[in-house]
């Protein structure tokens, strides 16, 4: 069962996390994402966490690791839509998630990946 749909749009992978991720699911998500990025020549990954009310230190760590992994695979990861309460909690926990790219929403995330118009023709740019 794949609990997290990884939506491919052009050469961008869009993931919207809608449910609370428990630890095991988070690790599986990390693995599947890395495989997909490597196999399908993904250039950018957008992880939307606007539905998450709780992000604990473990999930914060996972997000950070995903960003680092995709960066090794030559894809950039942007985490978008973090709620104020989540941001405050993470800061209070001392996790500043260095090097993690963030954006306000999916649209801003796409812009940060340098995409103004989605190219869905399937041709790699």
């Amino acid at each position: 069962m794949n609990a997290l749909p990884l939506l491919r749009i052009g050469d961008v992978l869009l993931v919207s996390i809608q449910t609370e991720l428990h630890d095991e699911l988070a690790l599986r998500f990390q693995r599947e994402l890395a495989e997909k990025v490597a196999d399908e020549h993904i250039r950018g990954v957008i992880i939307d966490i606007s539905a998450l009310e709780i992000v604990d230190s473990f999930l914060g760590r996972v997000l950070h690791d995903i960003a680092a992994t995709t960066s090794v695979l030559a894809a950039r990861t942007v985490v978008v839509g973090m709620r104020p309460a989540v941001a405050i909690t993470l800061v209070e926990l001392g996790l500043s998630l260095h090097g993690l790219r963030t954006a306000l929403n999916v649209e801003a995330g796409l812009r940060q990946l340098g995409i103004r118009r989605l190219d869905v023709s399937g041709e790699a740019r």
Binding site: V79, G81, A87, E92, L104, N105
Partner: protein, 287 residues
């Protein structure tokens, strides 16, 4: 209440009521009854009300209970008199000292009136006047506590406006001393405003902040980090030279934070950041 005591109470009460006019006359010049509008008739009515309440208190044996009905009936009057003094900056003890001045004239009158003045009756009278003072003090204390609470709430309301400077640019001008509660509120309202207005850049302006210690700096850094995690850039502006020096001496590291000297510089930076170019029309005078 024993028969004897009831008798003494009645005696003191009738003394107070008989001598009401003289007592009023000795009280009317006291600053305690000054309501600020110079209305002598009103002052006399107030004095009369206090005398009658005292008489009632000694008659019913409530002379040492400031919460009893006779003293309670004076609450409105005391709130007005003591409240007014408190708002003008008198402390509760100053108000109580003034209320204590009511005692002298009445006791003198009591002694000079002649006749049989027993120790018990005198004690009753002094007790009642002392309780009056306690009642006044209580009200003065509660008024000042209310006043402080009210002012604190007003201050919190005042302290954290989030201003939209441009579409996508927010500013929070922080003023005064920052404590934990205020920093927390500023942080929360800024982050919420970032979401609501889809702001890409937020400016924390600390021009009006008188002092920055490690704790305040910590709060500022936390706000910057939280905003960054939400996908917005946060700039700190308005760091005065003196404060910059203090921060350096305290070892506060602002290396990762974008800082600008003034709000204008921060706005210029923010505009550039979201893709605007600020230029003067040709021929314009200025820098």
């Amino acid at each position: 209440m024993g028969e004897q005591q009831r008798h003494s109470g009645a005696e003191v009460a009738s003394f107070l009521l008989e001598r009401e006019a003289e007592i009023i006359d000795s009280w009317r010049r006291l600053p305690f009854f000054d309501s600020g509008d110079g209305d002598q008739a009103q002052v006399e009515r107030d004095c009369g009300a206090v005398v009658r309440a005292l008489a009632e208190a000694v008659r019913t044996g409530d002379e040492d209970d400031p919460a009893a009905a006779p003293f309670n009936s004076l609450r409105g009057l005391f709130m007005e008199l003591a409240g007014r003094r408190t708002r003008f900056g008198d402390s509760a003890s100053e108000v109580a000292v003034e209320a204590g001045r009511l005692k002298g004239p009445v006791v003198r009158l009591w002694k000079s009136a002649g006749g049989h003045r027993g120790v018990e009756q005198t004690a009753l009278l002094v007790d009642a006047l002392g309780t009056l003072r306690v009642a006044v003090m209580e009200i003065a204390v509660s008024t000042s506590a209310e006043l402080i609470q009210q002012q604190q709430e007003q201050l919190l309301e005042l302290s954290t406006p989030v201003i939209s400077l441009w579409r996508g640019i927010l500013a929070v001008p922080l003023i005064g001393t920052l404590d934990s509660a205020r920093s927390q509120i500023a942080m929360e309202s800024l982050l919420q405003a970032i979401v609501d207005q889809r702001a890409e850049v937020a400016i924390l302006d600390i021009t009006g902040v008188s002092m920055v210690d490690t704790m305040v700096a910590q709060h500022l850094l936390k706000t910057v980090m939280a905003a960054r995690m939400m996908g917005a850039e946060c700039i700190i502006s308005g760091i005065r030279p003196q404060i910059a020096q203090t921060m350096v001496q305290l070892g506060i590291d602002l290396e990762e934070v974008t800082t600008r000297a003034g709000l204008a510089d921060a706005l210029a930076f923010a505009l550039t950041k979201i893709g605007y170019q600020v230029t003067a029309p040709t021929g314009a005078i200025g820098r």
